[in-house]
Amino acid sequence: MASNNYRHAVFCAIVTLIISFPILGLNLEAQGVNITLTGAKTSTIVAIFLAAGAVFVFQAFRDSFSGLLGKLPKLNPLADKEPMEQSKRVKLESWILTGIVVLALFWPFVVSRGSVDLATLVLIYIMLALGLNVVVGLAGLLDLGYVAFYAVGAYTFALLSQYTGISFWMALPLGALLAGTFGLLLGFPVLRLRGDYLAIVTLGFGEIIRILLNNWTSLTGGPNGIGGIPEPTLFGMEFGRRVKGEGNTSFHETFGIAYSGEHKVIFLYLIALVLAVITALIIRRFMRMPVGRAWEALREDEIAARSLGLSRTAVKLSAFTIGAFFAGFAGTVFASKQGFISPESFVFLESAIILAIVVLGGMGSQLGVILAAIAVTILPELAREFSEYRMLIFGAAMVLMMVWRPQGLLPMRRIHIKLNRQE
C-alpha cells in the first residue's frame, strides 16, 4: 500500500513538472521576425520544482493529511443543527432582503464616489443574475449567450438616443421589450432542443450579435462603439453642470444647491437600486404564480409536467422571454451609466460570469443570487493589487467553488411536507 502511494506521488510530481515547465519555464520572445527562446528567471524555475515537491509530499502522505483534516472542527457551525422550519426560513429571507435594501438606500451617502459607482455595477449584475436565474435556475434552460440580450438593451438605448434623441425613461421599456422580443424570436425555434444543444445555440447567438455589432460599422460604429449616451433625468432635471436637452432644467439650479458631480452618480445608483428591487419583486411574484410553478415542474420532470397538460413550448418560452426582458432592462441602465458602449462589453466571458453568479448563488434562490452577485463583482475589485493574476484567480476560484460547494451559497428550498412512512 505504502509503495503504491509513493509511486502515485512520483507520478503526480512528474505530471506537475510536465504541465508547468515548458509553458512557465521557457519563454518565447519575438524580436522582429526572429523568435528566441529564453529560460525563465531562476525564481520561477525554483518555484516549479518546489510545486512539484509539494505535490509529491501531499500525495505521498495523503492518508495522514485527510486524517488530520477529519479532526478539524466543522467549518459550518450549523451543519449539525436541524434545518430551520420552512415558514421561519421564508420570513427570515424576506427580512434579510429588506435589510439589504434599506442598507443600500443609505450606502451612497456615506461612501466615496468610486464605491457608489461600483455599487451601481453590482446592482446591474444583480438584475442580470436575477433574470438569468429565471432561465437557468427556475426553468432549467442552459443559456450561454445571455449577454446578447444585455447587448440588445444597451444598443437600443444608444442607437435610439443617437438617431432620435430619446430619453432614458423612454428607452428603458423599449430596450427591455426589444430584448424580450429577441428572446421570443430566438426561443421559438430553439426551445425544443435538448439541454446542451440549447447551450451551444444560445452561445452561437451571443457570438452572432457581438460580431454583428462589431462589423456593422455604418450603424453601430463597430469596435469604436457609441458614445454620448444621455444620463437619466429626474422629471426633466439634468445632473450635468450645463443643461443639454431642450426644455430641461438642471438639478442643482432648481434646488439652489452647489453643483457636484456626485449628484449624478448617486442618482444613477438610486435608479439602479429601484430597478433592481422592481426586478426582484416582479420575479418573486412570478415564482409564486402558476407560470413559476410550471417552470419548476418542467425543470424537474418534463414528461410528468407535459402529461399534466402543461405546454412545453409556452412555459419555456415565457421563461426565456422574461429572462431576456430583464437583461434588456439591465442593458439600458448600463448604457446610461457608462455613457459609452462598445461590443467589448458583451463578450462570452460576461455570460460566463453571470452564469457563475447564478450557480454560485444556489440556482433559484433570490437571496443567494444577490449575495453571489455582490461577491463576484466586489472581490475582483478588492484584488486590484493582483491585477495581473485576477482572472487566473477568478478561474481557479470558479473550479474550487464547484468542487467544494456545488450547491451554491444558499440553495433554494421549496416549501414541502415530508410524509412519514408507516412501518
Partner: protein, 307 residues
Amino acid sequence: MQDLLYFSQQLINGLTIGSAYALIAIGYTMVYGIIGMINFAHGEIYMIGAYTALIAITGLTALGLAWLPLILIVALVCAIIVSSTMGWAVERVAYRPVRGRHRLIPLISAIGMSIFLQNYVHLAQGSRNIGFPLLIEGGFKFGSDGHFEMSLSYMQITIFVTTLICMTVLSLFISRSRTGRACRAVSQDLGMASLLGIDTNRIISATFIIGAALAAVAGLLLGMYYGSVDPLFGFIAGLKAFTAAVLGGIGSIPGAMLGGLILGVSESMTSGYLSGEYKDVVSFGLLILILLFKPTGLLGKPEVEKI
C-alpha cells in the same frame, strides 16, 4: 473557368481548416459521449499544444538541428505529451470531483478551468501574438487562366495527410483495441460497463488523453497554417470545433469529422464570396438551421424518451 477555379480554391481552403476542426471536435464529442459534459477547456488544451510545439521548434532550431522532418516530429511529440498530460490533469482536478452532479456544475467548473488556463499561458508567455515560422513552404500551382491561379500548398497537403492518419488510427483504435471497445461500452452505459468490470475512471482518463493528443496535433498544424499563436487562439477555435461536433451529432465520432468539414467549407465559402468578417455568423447560423431540422445533429442518434 475562373469561377470554377475560384470555387475549387475556396473548397480546398475550407477542407484544410475543416479537417483541423474535425481533429479538435473529436475531443469534444468523445468526452460528451462518455460523461455528457461540455469540456470547455478543450480549446485551451489545443492552444497549449500549439505553444508547446512552437517552443519545441524554436528550441530545436536554436540547438542547430536543421533536418525539418525531425524537428516537426519532435515538436509534435512534445506537444502531444504536454497536452495529454494537461488533459489528464484537468480531468482529475476539475471534472472528476464534480462528476455525476447537476449538469451545470461540471460546465461551470470547465469554464473556470478555461479561464484559468488562458490566463496561465497569458502570464507565462505574454499576451502578444507570436509568429509561428512557416516551415513547410511552396506548393503546387495549377489551372491558371491568366487571372487567377489555383494553388495547393504543401502545408495544406500536410494537414490533410496528418488528419487522415490520425483519423484512421483513431478509428482502428476505437473499433479494434481492448481500450477502444471499453470506450464504446462506457459511452453506451457507464453504470453497466462499470458493473461488468471495466475500470470506468481509467477509460474516462483515456478519453481525455486521446482528445487532448488530437487537439495538440491540430494545434501544431493550425498554428503553422495561420502563422501565429496567442493565448486567445484556443477560444474561438474551440468554439468552432464544438459547433462542428454538435453539427455532426455530438457523441458520434464520424459526425465530428463530417461536422468539421462542413463548417470549414462553409466558412471559407463565406470569406471567399461574402466577407471574412461574417464567416462566424454564417457558421453559427448554419448550426441553428441544421438543429432546427435535425435536433440531434446530422449523424446523432435520435433521443428515445423512456417513461
